[in-house]
Symmetry: C2
Subunit: 344 residues, 2 copies
C-alpha cells in the first residue's frame, strides 16, 4: 500500500511494545516526580508532537491537577529571553530528537535546574542527551513524512507518566487495553468510506472539545499535510465565539468525539451545523453519534474518554490517508516537506 | 460607513483614554504583584481575547521572565477538575465580562487563593465582580460583533501591566506613543487596496512569529468571521513542520511582521513561498518588507517590536473590513453570531 498506511497499521504493536518496554523509564520518572514535586509542566514541541502536548494539558490537568504551559520556543531562541522555569517539570517531545528549538527549551530548563524529560523515538538523539530523563517511544523507524505511530506512542507515553504520578487501578487496566482498542479502530477502516467525499476540498473544519480537541488539531494537520485541503480545527467553544460565521450550506465539518463530559457540546454544535445545511461528518469512539450527520464512523472501544484520543487519532490518520488517495496525492511524501524540520 | 469601521477608527482615542484612566488600576496591580510574587500567569479567554492572552505569553515571558499558561476552561467547567493555581496570577479577559467559562476559571482561582485580575470593558460585569482586581478598558460600547477597539485595548492593558511589574523608561515612552502610532496605522489604510484581491477566498494562510504570532491569529479570525474565507494562522516555525505542504502556486499567504528578532524568519519563509509561486502579501510595521511580494502595506511607527501587535492588529482589522466589503458581506453583523457568546 504505502509506508504511511503500513505505519498506521503498526500501532497496536507499537503500543504493546511501549507498555512493555517503557516500564523502567516510567517508574524512574514517577519516583523523580515525587522527589522533586514540580508545581506544573512546561512542554516544548512542534507539529504533531505539539498536539500531544495539548493532550497532556487536559490529561495532567484532569488526572494530576497539574497546570500545563505550552512553551513558546522563540522566547528561548530568537528572543534569548526565556521565562523562569523554576520548579517546573519541562518535557521536550520530538520524534527525531533533533528539533533545535525543542532542544533549546530543555537546555535552558537544565541550566535553570528544572526537572527535564525527553519523549522521543531516538534514544541517542541530542534531545535525549540534553534531558535528565528519557522516555524512548520504541516505535521503530518512522519513514513516512506524516507522523502516525510516533504520535500515538507520544500520547501513550504521556498517559503512562500521568498514571505514574497518580496510579489508579481502573486507568491502569484501560492503559493495558490500548493495543486492542487501536486494533478495533483499525478494523473500523471501512466505515470511513462514506466520510471521504465531504473532504474533497478545498477546505474543511474539524471540531472537538476537551481531550479530543488535540485530536481535532492532529486530524486537521494530517488532512492539511497529506491531502492539501486547508483544514482548521477549533474547540467547539472557541468556534462558537466567532469562526462559526464562516460556515454556509455545504461547508464540510468533521466532528471528533469520545463521549464523556463534552458529549452534549458536540451534540449541540452538530444540531446547529446540520440546521445550517453543512456537510457534517464525524468520528466517534463512544458507540453513538449525534443525529442528522451525513456520514459517521462510530465504534466503541470501551476506553475512558481520556484515552479515546489514541483510537480516534488512528481513525483520523486512516481518514487522511483515504482522502489523500482520493485526491491523487502521495501521502508518504508531502510536497515541500522533509522528515526532520529544523527550526530555531 | 459601518460600525466596525467606526470602531476601528476610534482606537487612537481609546488607547489615549486607557493610558490616562487606567493609571490607578495599573498601579494597584503592580503593588499587589510585588506583594504576592506570583510564580507565573494563567490566562482565561475566548476568541479575540484569547489572542490577547497569546500576546501576553510572549510579552510577560520576554519582559518579565514570567511563564504564561493559557487556561483550558473545560477543565473547570465540563470536567470539574481544575488544575492547581496556587501561587499564580490568574487573568480573565472578556469584553463583556459575561463569558461563563472565563468567569469559572477566575472563580476557581479565588477559591484556591490565587491573585485574580479581570480585563474587561464592563467594570460592572460578573467577571469584574468575581476578580480581586479589575482593569477596565474604558473603550466605550463596542456595538459591532467583530471586536476591534477592545482587542487593542486588551493588548495595551497587558503591556501596562508588564510595565508595572518591570518599569523601564524606554518602554514607558513607547507606550505613550501608542495612540499616535495607531493613528499612523489608520493613515496607511489606502496601502491595503492592492492586498485585498489575493484574499478573494475561499482560503488563506496568515503567518507571523513571536509577538506577532498573536496578530496573525487575530487577523485570521477577523478575516474568517467577517469575510467568510477560511483563514488559518500559524507561527512560521510550526508552519514549516507540516502545513507548508498545503501551499501551491496561487495560494494566498499573508505575512505579518514588526521587525525585531524574528525578521529573518519572515524573510526566509517569504522567499520560499514566493519561489513556490504563492500570492504572498504582507503587513509590516518596521519600514521594510521582504522582496518579491505581490503587495505590501509597509509603514514604520517606530514602536519596539513588542508593541507592533497594536498597530498591525489595527491594519489587519482594516484589511478584514475591506475584504468583507469586496466580498459583499456586512462586516458589522456576521451571520450566525451574537455579540456575547456564552460558552461553558
Amino acid at each position: 500500500m504505502s509506508r504511511f498506511h503500513d505505519e498506521i497499521r503498526e500501532q497496536p504493536e507499537v503500543a504493546a511494545r511501549l507498555l512493555e518496554q517503557s516500564r523502567p523509564a516510567v517508574e524512574k520518572f514517577g519516583a523523580r516526580f515525587r522527589e522533586t514535586h514540580p508545581k506544573g509542566f512546561v512542554i516544548a514541541a512542534r507539529g504533531s508532537s505539539d498536539h500531544a502536548a495539548l493532550y497532556a494539558k487536559y490529561l495532567f490537568g484532569r488526572r494530576n491537577r497539574c497546570l500545563v504551559a505550552l512553551a513558546a520556543p522563540s522566547l528561548f531562541t530568537r528572543y534569548s529571553s526565556p521565562p523562569s522555569l523554576e520548579g517546573q517539570c519541562v518535557i521536550g517531545i520530538s520524534q527525531s530528537g533533533e528539533s533545535p528549538d525543542v532542544i533549546a527549551v530543555v537546555e535552558e530548563a537544565v541550566r535553570q535546574g528544572a526537572m527535564t524529560v525527553a519523549i522521543t523515538n531516538e534514544a541517542e538523539s541530542t534531545l535525549a542527551a540534553a534531558s535528565e530523563l528519557v522516555l524512548p517511544l520504541h516505535a521503530g523507524a518512522e519513514r513516512s513524512v506524516p507522523a502516525s505511530k510516533t504520535y500515538s506512542a507520544s500520547l501513550l507515553a504521556l498517559a503512562l507518566m500521568s498514571q505514574a504520578i497518580d496510579p489508579d487501578e481502573e486507568f491502569g487496566a484501560a492503559l493495558n487495553r490500548v493495543p486492542t482498542s487501536i486494533t478495533q479502530a483499525l478494523q473500523a477502516e471501512e466505515k470511513l468510506v462514506p466520510l471521504a467525499p465531504a473532504l474533497a476540498g478545498p477546505r474543511a473544519i474539524v471540531l472537538g472539545r476537551g481531550f479530543n480537541f488535540s485530536t481535532a488539531e492532529e486530524v486537521a494537520l494530517k488532512l492539511t499535510e497529506t491531502s492539501y485541503l486547508l483544514a482548521r480545527a477549533w474547540s467547539v467553544a472557541d468556534f462558537e465565539h466567532g469562526p462559526i460565521a464562516v460556515v454556509e450550506p455545504g461547508f464540510p465539518v468533521l466532528l471528533v468525539g469520545g463521549g464523556g463530559s463534552v458529549e452534549a457540546d458536540l451534540e449541540s454544535i452538530a444540531a446547529r451545523l446540520v440546521d445550517y445545511g453543512c456537510r457534517v461528518i464525524g468520528l466517534f469512539d463512544c458507540g453513538r453519534a449525534p443525529s442528522g450527520l451525513e456520514a459517521t464512523a462510530v465504534f466503541d472501544s470501551g476506553l475512558p474518554e481520556e484515552l479515546t484520543p489514541l483510537t480516534l487519532g488512528v481513525l483520523g490518520q486512516l481518514l487522511a490517508w483515504r482522502v489523500a488517495l482520493a485526491r491523487g496525492v502521495d501521502p508518504d511524501q508531502p510536497r515541500a516537506l522533509r522528515k526532520i524540520t529544523r527550526t530555531w
